[in-house]
Amino acid sequence: MLPVRSSSESSWARTRQFLLSHGFEIVLVLVVLFYTVSAPRFLTATNIIGLLHAAAPLMAIAAGLTLVVMMGKLDISVGSTAFLTTSVGTLLMVRQGVDPLLTLLIVLALGALIGALNGFIVVVLRINPLITTLGTMIGLRGIGLELTKSTNISLPEDVRRLGNATIGPIFVDILIALAIMAIIHLIHRRTAFGRQIMAIGNDADTAARLGVRVPRVTFLAFVLCGLLAAIGGVLTVVQVGAVSGSIGSGLEFTAVSVIVIGGISLFGGEGSILPGALRGVLMLEIIRNGLNHLGADPYAYRFVNGAIIFIAMYADSLRAQVPVETHAFESEEVSAQPRTQSP
């Protein structure tokens, strides 16, 4: 049988609680410290701006995907959506000479349409979201590759220049990405739609019983996710200056890992865009950027990425094990006291 726990146990428990609730900040500080010491050019304004520039597309895509994940669902077609929509856009501009601004609108509409397709399959045909978007992920990339004949197609010169547009020292796409995150955050926190996403993430049946129009909310979340995937695609392609078959490839899994690292539960109902999803993006991008500075093997990045995901998931599961309350003989007294929300 287990020994009786001594009093030092409780101070360890407190330490553990602290580590678990501030684990992200601790790791972030350690990582930044490590890179700062070992790579002199890591902590410079230029590098930080470059890092955010590189992270901008992921911010947009992760913001949209987070909404879906918060419902306890998944959309792994975001990478293919980014690829197909931008392929169509590039072809329209290059082959048909369509005006860039009109093209942008078409690209965004197409993204929303793909989201609507996913939403339709999930909501109306009642097919599991993972299977649904696995199908569209494969299918959409196929269409894109067919359209582009898997060749690189450069953007028109005047559009390509936008990739390096800055306001002062800051790249414009950083501002766009941050604005998108702020807007999605507002939608999540302060609209009925956003709150109902969380309700569905808690339990779809309960939400339905409470009068939430679950199909409608689910559908809209997928539409928004598709739209934001298209935006992420546009940001990527404009940065790169061309579409190629590898655009957005693997992006869905990067986005999922970012979301997990950001503390958003894959079971739904838990997490935030700000700071959650944003800090996930930053963490991953900092690690990638730092490894570059260290001249690490490019393949090492995947390994480290994998390790980080495991650590994040493990921390999450540890957090879930810490009892929120002892529900034994307290109910008579304790229930009368207000409880405050944990951070």
């Binding site: 049988m1 287990l2 020994p3 009786v4 726990r5 507002l186 302060r190 609209t191 009925a192 709150r195 109902q196 969380m198 309700a199 993430g201 808690n202 339990d203 309960t206 939400a207 019983r209 409470l210 009068g211 939430v212 109902g269 838990e270 929120v324 309350e325 002892t326 529900h327 034994a328 003989f329 307290e330 109910s331 008579e332 304790v334 229930s335 009368a336 006291q337 207000p338 409880r339 405050t340 929300q341 944990s342």
Partner: protein
């Protein structure tokens, strides 16, 4: 003579194969609580679902305040001032109380949620109910009783004129129950019409003015409670069948111990719990809700970790042997208090549910389950326990509560462990099913098993137990003999030393 605020007349509802309601009439009066009583399957829920707009009656009419109304959806029920407090709570644990209250109807301003208005409305209804928690508390940090208050607050948000309470006290402690009754009383003084569905007759007499009894989809009686006795109501509920009196058999338990628990402790839940269960004995763990009864059972069979203590069982040979927490289920069968979420796989068949604990016993030498043997054993216990099913392939979720519980019992009888723990074995069952389950428990003891019973119903404990352990705040505070009186038991559970005149 007050006019009824609500009148339902000639309500008939047929489902394929069954007539759920046959020409039912029902009246409820303003400022009064009307108890709606009936055994399981009597039609209470169907009738209230008609009123709540969840289902439509085939015929009949509903009048509110003298005017005929059409209620064809939950929304139109709400529009007619009807609110339904469901038995199963609909909670969103990771969200705040305010969000739980307003999730389908947030007040907005310019497209965004008006949080100050949301909080104000929430705070107002919580204050009205005397709740101590704030609207920004996350529901996952609330006790069951407080969650029930949130459930009720949600109903009151629309300022209803009729409030239906469906079994509101089944998960409440006595203090929480008192708070609920206060809320109901204050609603009554505001002239609200209350409809109160329950199995507990004592509550009916405590909080209601009138009662309507349903049986087999028909109204069998209705009247002022001051003119009725509990016995008269029970008679109406079960009809011509005489009330079976349960009395524990006088087969005294043997002195042979079969389960020994010593100094079981778990921080925040259990303190130094020790007891012995004998062969052929029904031992009752008695105490108020939250006194640690369920925690003892869970700790004994290793569902919860323990900080210290030891569990011993009599294994096949002679003598007692200490066991590791993970092994307990080889000797101890546990029937949990929440059969729907912990005890049964609702979408699976009766047969598969019954063989679940016995898959190893049913396996052939290639480790594959012998299907014919599985069927044979399932059929045997279906017959023995008199489980009413259409086929062994019927999904368990479609059975009535009593039959579901018998499936759980049947599962453990298949493996026939020497020790059985039953946590609230008859909760939510109707009078007849309760009696059957209780008889099974007594038979088990007679067959030489050791049975540990946990129940919130004093009558049930008194009908079953040879001996009581009284729990309070995670400790066993007293042991009482099977002859203990009702008053002694109540007093001991409340932590009062009670001396009857002897």
């Amino acid at each position: 003579m007050v006019n009824p605020y609500l009148t339902m007349q000639g309500i008939t509802k047929r489902f394929p194969g069954v007539t759920a309601l046959q020409d039912v009439s029902f009246q409820a009066y303003p400022g009064e609580a009307m108890a709606l009583i009936g055994a399981n399957g009597a039609g209470k829920s169907t009738l209230m679902n008609v009123l709540g707009g969840v289902i439509r009656a085939d015929s009949g009419e509903i009048q509110i305040d003298g005017a005929r109304v059409e209620i064809d959806s939950p929304l139109s029920a709400t529009a007619n001032g009807i609110a339904f407090v469901h038995q199963e709570m609909a909670m969103l644990p990771t969200m705040t109380v305010a969000e739980n209250l307003h999730i389908s109807q947030f007040p907005t301003r310019g497209g965004l949620i008006n949080t100050s208005e949301t909080d104000r409305r929430s705070a107002e209804v919580l204050r009205r109910m005397g709740c101590q928690f704030t609207p920004d508390t996350r529901v996952q940090f609330l006790s069951t009783g407080d969650r029930q208050m949130v459930e009720i607050a949600r109903a009151l948000l629309t300022h209803p004129r009729i409030v239906i309470f469906d079994e509101p006290t089944s998960s409440l402690t006595s203090r929480e129950k008192a708070r609920l009754f206060e809320v109901i009383r204050s609603l009554k003084t505001e002239g609200v019409t209350i409809i109160y569905i329950t199995h507990f007759l004592d509550e009916v007499f405590q909080i209601c003015e009138r009662a309507t009894v349903l049986r087999g989809g028909e109204t069998v009686g209705s009247g002022m409670l001051k003119d009725l006795t509990p016995n008269a109501i029970v008679q109406m509920m079960i009809g011509d069948i005489g009330i079976e009196v349960h009395r524990k058999r006088e087969t005294a338990a043997t002195a042979e111990p079969i389960l020994g628990v010593s100094s079981l402790s778990r921080k925040g839940a259990l303190r130094d719990v020790s007891f012995t269960l004998h062969k052929g004995e029904v031992l009752g763990l008695w105490g108020l809700l939250g006194s640690g009864r369920t925690e003892v059972a869970r700790a004994v069979i290793g569902l919860d970790p323990i900080d210290s203590g030891q569990v011993e069982v009599r294994t096949d040979g002679a003598g007692m042997r200490p066991i590791k927490p993970g092994q307990a289920q080889r000797w101890i069968g546990m029937i949990t208090e929440d059969r729907r979420s912990e005890g049964l796989l609702l979408s699976m068949s009766v047969k598969n549910n019954m063989s679940l604990a016995n898959l190893r016993g049913l396996a052939n030498r290639w480790l594959l389950v012998r299907g014919d043997e599985e069927t044979r054993q399932a059929q045997e216990f279906v017959d023995r326990l008199n489980i009413i099913i259409s086929s062994l392939r019927q999904p368990v979720g479609t059975l009535s509560g009593g039959n579901q519980q018998k499936v759980v019992v049947g599962r453990w009888l298949q493996v026939s462990p020497p020790i059985i723990i039953m946590d609230e074995p008859t909760r939510g069952l109707d009078v007849g099913a309760k009696a059957e389950i209780r008889n099974i428990i007594l038979e088990l003891a007679e067959a030489g098993k050791g049975v540990l019973v946990i129940s919130s119903e004093l009558e049930e404990m008194m009908a079953l137990c040879h001996r009581y352990l009284v729990m309070n705040r995670g400790q066993i505070v007293r042991e009482l003999p099977g002859t203990a009186s009702r008053n002694e038991l109540m007093a001991a559970a409340a932590g009062v030393d009670f001396m009857e005149d002897r």
